[in-house]
Symmetry: C2
């Protein structure tokens, strides 16, 4: 891997054929690839800021990005983590409605929104592909609303771990061990909890042998079934 400097920007080669455009007729998308820009972003760096006018849709190629919204007094809600192959910035009409911040070192590709819109009107399947992505996000968002509005701290953490494990499997991981590059504060802000509560819930999970931490950010899942039970509110004898 090349050692890219912070905010390193390069023209994207016209040869990309992975990610959200995969399988679509190649020739018609040349314009898009030629107009796309590849960018490397350092951890903790802001990619786009809530309220900014952004003219791009972003595809994460490498690393993890977190999206969050803020209340006027600084409380934070992480609305999602974006992994390689996923897009963000699709849902901005004019001004960006959330902040995107790199969790790890990240490589993103920027597609000009005007060009994407233009192509979506002409290339069969492109708008449908985007719709499918938006729809999937919507399903995730609704699940998250149930979590935020109606689940307890234990259920939230368990749900989070189960979902992250499933995501990891979908990306080719083994499901048994989990790399969570985000901080406890990020996890808390994603689940509507404080950092302290995240820690306090992790402790008994470790003590019961349900999970363990290889390192700070590597979680090993020993008892996936119990985790699912906890996520669904079956606390059968789980003391916290």
């Amino acid at each position: 891997m090349l050692a890219l400097k912070t905010q390193d920007v390069t023209r994207s080669s016209g040869a990309r054929r992975t990610g959200f455009t995969e399988g679509l007729p190649g020739g018609s998308l040349e314009d898009l690839f030629l107009a796309s820009v590849r960018k490397s972003v350092a951890p903790r760096e802001i990619v786009v800021c809530e309220g900014d006018s952004s003219e791009s849709v972003f595809e994460v190629v490498e690393g993890v990005v977190k999206l969050y919204k803020l209340t006027p007094d600084g409380r934070r809600q992480v609305t999602g983590f974006v992994y390689p192959g996923q897009l963000f910035g699709l849902s901005l009409q004019g001004a960006c409605i959330y902040t995107a911040e790199a969790v790890t070192r990240v490589t993103v590709v920027l597609y000009p929104r005007t060009k994407l819109d233009h192509l979506a009107a002409r290339v069969p399947g492109l708008a449908q592909r985007l719709l499918s992505l938006a729809t999937r996000e919507l399903i995730t968002a609704q699940e998250q609303m149930l979590l935020l509005g109606r689940k307890t701290a234990v259920e939230k953490i368990a749900s989070f771990l189960v979902a992250q494990a499933a995501d990891a499997v979908a990306r080719g991981g083994d499901g048994g061990s989990l790399y969570l590059p985000m901080t406890r504060a990020d996890i808390g802000d994603y689940l509507g909890l404080t950092t302290e509560t995240v820690s306090r819930v992790f402790k008994p999970l470790k003590e019961h042998g349900i999970v363990s931490l290889r390192q700070q950010k590597y979680v090993v899942i020993h008892d996936h079934a119990t985790l699912i039970d906890l996520a669904n509110g079956n606390l059968h004898g789980f003391e916290y």
Copy 2:
């Protein structure tokens, strides 16, 4: 208005040109209109149930529908209220991921998903139109996550009233008075609160003259500015 019976179903006339298809090339959508079905649903009746396999996308023509998800032990999260002109069921791939229940007497139009998908691939603009709707929903969902995860009860209620007022204006209302056909329990389940807390927050809002209730379900907004402040966490001297 015709007196329709519960679950009354009729072939949709091919002449509809309002709602989400407005402005799209007419001829190519004849198929869709001919295949669409109009249905009338009584209050409290289920339109589609979480887990059901539904082959349709629904457009609300009249009335209000609430969408909700349930935890295994019956806790409920209302993910949205759907008003005339809006769609739901777009985000189902195979099985429905939420329950849709009529709040008032409702008229919906069912579009077969296969037909819609088929047309989306050919009619320029249709997929984009759907994408735009999904995108708007996504923005709302993200705002709701901030509310559910990070706002207090007062902020939640204030935010809800402000948002409902804005919606009402967008639908042609005056913004000063508000018809809320849903119950307190529905509002609570939408905001991640209990019925009791909704009531307890409404009381001081009324006492401070910020809102009043003409009837149980008609809210009059007297001080919109303060409501916005409360929604944003500026509780400047607001005792609760």
